[in-house]
Amino acid sequence: MSTTRPELTIAVPRGALMGDTLDLLDRIGIDTSEVRTNDRKLLFEDVGIVTMRPSDVPTYVEAGAADIGFTGKDVLLEQPERAVYELLDLGYGRCTLVLASVAGEDPGAEALRRLGVMRVATKYTKIARRFFEETGRQVELVEVKGSVELAPLTGLVDCIVDLTATGTTLRENGLVVREEILVATARLIANPVAHKLKAAAIDDVLERLRATEPTSA
């Protein structure tokens, strides 16, 4: 444990990106053992790490409550107005945002053809709205917070827009991928003021991250 407070406060996402992010921080010389052994604590001042859900990382970094942070490109695309620097594509946490519906004849296509509009459940309303506008399709978006796969199985919607890494959850729920919308990987982001006032410290982290081998997906 270091005796001086670290210069940078780093926002680390909990959930799927956490393991690879902590491994990466270890490799560039930031000791994450305390974070790994303490599941409930959120703030680790000795190593300058704060942990939070991935979608909160841009919020903390934009406000300067954290200087830099790790989050998914999917999160950044869903919050496009956040004034943060996007510094590096880290390559890990690779997943795909897809349009999916129940196997068999595509209920989404049928709804579009017969009713002129399809109902789509998603957590990613901004990306989905942009995608359907760009592809010229009328949709009714239903924002859900929990398991999106449930929505088409119960008849709430015709299809879903959701993130998938391996496709297992979709398959187990009898859903098939109809279209791939985008591929997202983990990104390093920085607060716009810290990027200027703590330039040396941030560039140092950036250089050390670039020097590491890309992690496997």
Partner: protein
């Protein structure tokens, strides 16, 4: 629970305790502007869209109709109205002209960020003075104003809006690709910038130059190691024209761009460690006054007074930065 009588999202009331502090800040800044010879002006909060609208690169904004059906626009910055004043009310006066203003500006906001639609700004415009001396004068006034307000830890990021576009042109990048790359830079998306630069198919040295230049920021010494193809002349000239005290505040930033289209040369932003977002900024707009009929080079800045107030309070408490505004 009392009945709900809300103000529009992005607006708020200022009550006496806060107002006394704000007034102390504006009085101190007004004194610094007056000492430097910048006379205060008022311009209308509403102007004709066909007069000011075409200059505005800030997006969004509020429009309304008057009783003749003309489209009016709520003031979205301080610079464009003063450019109009300078060109029309001082059409024959020998430049340079020096103006200051304190006013609310109105901008459309992006939902969900707690941005203010109505913000109070203080600014100056120096019209008819070329860079680098004019730029140096305005940077000096800016530092004097922030000093007078009592801000201690601030720094001024100084860039050149023409530097990176000129570099792209010099290595043969066409207008369409230049626009895409500059768009990534304005969006602070250096991953997309790198992808777009690599897609140009240039040699490795040039590709490395184009991806590294936007990341160069620091003291004046960063200009020394830069490739000859990057024209740092204007930045060096500004550095040579300011006092040592002002120079110590500067962070030279080859990646600094501002999202208003009218900037032509030097651009700057105000940072403070107690604030997560820039407290304001400015730059040269040598083509703007000419659009109102009197071709004069110009430079100016504006400071977000609420952001400055929050930074001052933060410096006094010695705390981490906090968000500059809460949702109304």
């Amino acid at each position: 629970m009392t009945a709900m009588h809300p103000t529009p999202s992005g607006t708020r009331d200022v009550l006496p305790d806060e107002m006394r502090e704000l007034r102390a800040i504006t009085d101190a800044i007004r004194g610094a502007f007056e000492d430097a010879g910048y006379g205060e002006v008022w311009t209308p909060a509403i102007e004709f869209e066909h007069v000011v609208g075409r200059m505005d690169g800030g997006g969004g904004g509020y429009r309304l109709f008057d009783d003749h059906g003309s489209v009016l626009r709520l003031r979205s910055d301080l610079t464009v109205p003063i450019a109009r004043v300078a060109a029309t009310r001082y059409a024959k006066t020998e430049p340079p002209l020096r103006f200051s203003s304190f006013a609310h500006v109105y901008r459309g906001v992006k939902p969900g960020r707690g941005q203010m639609r109505e913000t109070l700004q203080a600014g100056v415009e120096l019209i008819g003075a070329q860079g680098p001396d004019g730029t140096a004068e305005v940077l000096t006034v800016l530092c004097a104003a922030l000093d007078a307000a009592g801000l201690r830890e601030y720094r001024i990021g100084l860039g050149d809006a023409g530097l990176y576009p000129a570099l792209l042109a010099s290595v043969g990048v066409d207008a369409q690709r230049t626009a895409a790359i500059l768009d990534a830079l304005v969006a602070r998306d250096l991953v997309r910038l790198s992808v777009d630069v690599h897609a140009l198919g240039l040699d490795a040295t040039t590709t490395g130059l184009l991806t590294s230049v936007p990341l160069l920021r620091g003291g004046v010494e960063i200009l020394d190691g830069v490739d000859d193809r990057v024209d740092t002349g204007r930045l060096r000239a500004v550095h040579g024209a300011v006092s040592g005290a002002v120079a110590d505040r500067l962070i030279f930033d080859l990646g600094l761009v501002r999202d208003l289209d009218y900037y032509t040369g030097a651009v700057f932003e105000i940072y403070d460690p107690a604030a997560g977002m820039p407290l304001g900024g400015g730059g040269r707009y040598d083509d703007l006054v000419g659009q109102f009929g009197r071709d004069l080079p110009a430079v100016g800045f504006s400071v977000d007074l609420n952001g400055l107030h929050i930074a001052l309070a933060g410096e006094q408490r010695g705390e981490r930065p906090r968000a500059q505004e809460n949702p109304a």
